[in-house]
Symmetry: C2
Subunit: 211 residues, 2 copies
DNA sequence: TAGATTGTTAATCGATTAACAATC
DNA sequence: TAGATTGTTAATCGATTAACAATC
């Protein structure tokens, strides 16, 4: 039965997809929740519940049809129909993201990149780097709905405002700063500082208990 | 009163720090939970509780001393004493992370980078790129406890195993794959696919309701 | 004193886990 | 049939929010 999916579950779905695809490559045609759970270090019941919310279900004693699950997950995650996006800030990180092929697989299609410094485009990047003055116009013309921010923190809000004014509805923010947006706009922070906080605390504790 | 800090709270701490530092720059010497909450889009009570768990507290009617809070947060997050780390996988993303100055501010010090392809070091990177054969040895010699994985997904587990065998206790994984580690090792996934899932669903919903 | 603001204790909410019924 | 496995309903757990007491 298809239920509404919590944020927590939603975030686990790509992991399931990964896991199932690798099982598929090994020609494993059906799979139990137990196997998936063990492979990802999750609880068996949690896996069953998560999968129930996006799939048409499995069969007792048999499990799930791997291929069907993969298809259901990809469909749910929107990997089959791609979203166009722009990226603002073609520094090191921005360029790294631009040349990452994997995004296409996730249904993300970066159609243009912008920077103050115009157009020093790299060899293995598909998109041109355009002057930031043309950002708003292009977003409107191409009806861009996703903006990726990889500018320095001080300019992030400014860029964010332009994107929002130009019709962007979802922002993926790599700048280490909090962005202010209207209520209907989603900001997803790729929060490196938060990750480091978690790593650092684990380390402190481990080193302490080893003394 | 210093309490134990939940993961959720821990992840918010860098945001508080950011916010407070910018207030400090504007010479705002005391600050109420309400101000911080509004600035970050959080609940006032949540902010008070979070701050209570790392700070020596504020004064009724006055609020918190900005400078003290900044210091307490930095101390708690370990920004004052830095951790050495290695990075494995000097592709686009790896190089981007290597040349990001900001990590030092967070107490992360990348002392070496590794790749199969040896040593094509970039201009504005401080560290050399070493052959991956020397990874284990260096980790042991320098007692490295943090490993950053930016290799392609297929090689991530392999690299992870080497790191764990060489004494690394915490792993920051940028490869889109789940890593298997012993129970005492922490893996933090920088989960781009999960972020995209959240962005994508928001978009689907918005576009649907606009029809 | 009055009022703003902190901090704590209790209530609510949501997510995870456990127990169990259904079924192939 | 027996047993493995799904899926659902109930219980638990943890985090957030609300209510309130403390205090400058």
């Amino acid at each position: 039965m298809l239920q509404s999916v919590s944020i927590q579950t939603l975030q686990r779905l790509p992991d399931y997809l990964n896991c199932l695809k690798s099982l598929l490559q090994r020609n494993i045609e059906t799979v139990s929740a137990k196997i998936v759970a063990e492979s990802l270090g999750l609880g068996e019941i949690q896996v069953r519940k998560d999968l129930a919310s996006v799939s048409s279900g499995g069969k007792p004693k048999v499990g799930y049809v791997t291929r069907d699950l993969v298809r259901d997950l990809e469909t749910y995650l929107g990997y089959h129909d791609s979203h166009d996006a722009v990226l603002v800030g073609a520094g090191k990180l921005g360029k790294a993201l631009l040349s990452y092929e994997g995004f296409r697989e996730y249904g993300l299609n970066i159609v243009a990149a912008f920077d103050t410094k115009g157009s020093e485009s790299d060899d293995d990047m598909q998109v041109k780097i355009l002057p930031v003055e043309t950002l708003s116009d292009l977003c409107r013309r191409l009806k861009i709905r996703i903006g990726i921010i990889t500018v320095p923190a001080v300019h992030a809000q400014e860029v964010c405002d332009i994107l929002v004014q130009s019709g962007v509805l979802a922002i993926w923010n790599f700048a280490p700063t909090h962005l202010h947006v209207p209520g209907n706009i989603l900001v997803r922070n790729e929060n490196m500082a938060a990750s480091l906080a978690i790593l650092s605390r684990h380390l402190s504790r481990k080193l302490l208990e080893d003394q």
